[in-house]
Symmetry: C2
Subunit: 223 residues, 2 copies
Amino acid sequence: MARAKRRRRGRPAGGSAALVGEILCATLDQLCRAGYAELSVDAVARVAGVNKTTIYRRWPTKSELVVAAIVAAKTRALPFRPSGDLRRDLVALLDAKARRMATPRQRAIAYAINNLDPAVSEALVAELRRHRYTIPRDIIEHAIASGELPRDVDPELLAELLLAPICHRALVMCEPVPKKFVEQTVAIVLAGARAQRRTSLTEAPSKRPARKSASASFARPSS
Amino acid sequence: MARAKRRRRGRPAGGSAALVGEILCATLDQLCRAGYAELSVDAVARVAGVNKTTIYRRWPTKSELVVAAIVAAKTRALPFRPSGDLRRDLVALLDAKARRMATPRQRAIAYAINNLDPAVSEALVAELRRHRYTIPRDIIEHAIASGELPRDVDPELLAELLLAPICHRALVMCEPVPKKFVEQTVAIVLAGARAQRRTSLTEAPSKRPARKSASASFARPSS
DNA sequence: TTGTTAATGCAACCGCCGTCGCTTTATTCT
DNA sequence: AGAATAAAGCGACGGCGGTTGCATTAACAA
């Protein structure tokens, strides 16, 4: 209401920004080093040179502390400047993402997110979800606008088909993502999108004559 | 080493199979209910009607207990019987996988695997890795043999491109996987594989003339 | 039946995590 | 300078997860 600035005298609220920085930095450090499960607030406090109570007062739970550390360390979007060549741009972008995902820091963050208290991480995952496919989708939308891709492809879907294999390899399978794999993924998905014009993207599942006759003998035991 | 059967007398080693079953069942139950982090061996013991010590003696760590529960509950491969129609078979298989992945049990298992002690889960993930793409890969290999797909596509790669989006949605993004999404994924990837014959799958990145001129204006701030 | 062997139950213990009450320190207004 | 206010330090406590030593019980062979 009409409560003006009304600075009450005394020590200012909000605490020391420097302390907060130390703590969040130490949190991320421990997260990379030990993972979410093994992360102990005691260790964070020790590394940050701070009493454990100080941390617990500001972030009541480990999840909240880690969420704060993640949002504080949120890496800027890749400084990506498209050349205009669709395939090259996609390969460059996805390869950059793959390499970033291989970073211990990003891996630790990605793994931690799955373990956070859902109620606490809700806002964070919503944020991530909003931005998940923006960059490849922008490139694809532009390619559609310029006529390089057919109009009836779904940019969001295509972005997902491009990004998913990289994320799957890097995060789920925990395997390296060589550049060649990125190139092959882009090649196939792009070729598929270009061919979409003449095959059935819509609901109708079989405009094209099915070739059932060719392979009736291929049956495997249900074990 | 001429030690014959030489049954030593006394209570037989190995413990009660029934007890083991109870414990592993309770472990999986708790895993679905609370997730790996929240899973407490005390609770498992309570549910299984067994003393905590019994569990700890047989499986020294929580990771080992959970791994044992997972391998004990390993679901049989999907009883999938291909019809011979490539697209329909892939859609059916992937949709079945998607629906299974949405099961709380499978979700809990998938999430837990990321949190296990790597040294303990090593064998398990190696096993999973060996079998990861077998079924779609078999279908694809058969399609290649029957001439329905070009010879120069990599079955393993194609299987990965098909499976990754489904896993990514279900596990990483924690979103539902509608059948339509599966159909679209299969459509695009299959179309891309078919088109692979005439575009560049190999190292050479640009046999096709690049259309750089079309979209030089598409540049976004690096923020 | 009886002895042998190993699994199971029981209870106590250690250590770490998270909390609480109190004291100390730092900052700002009067 | 001194009072006021809130953050930060400090120590101790309760609780839980994991461990250990010992007593008990169950299964099998002689």
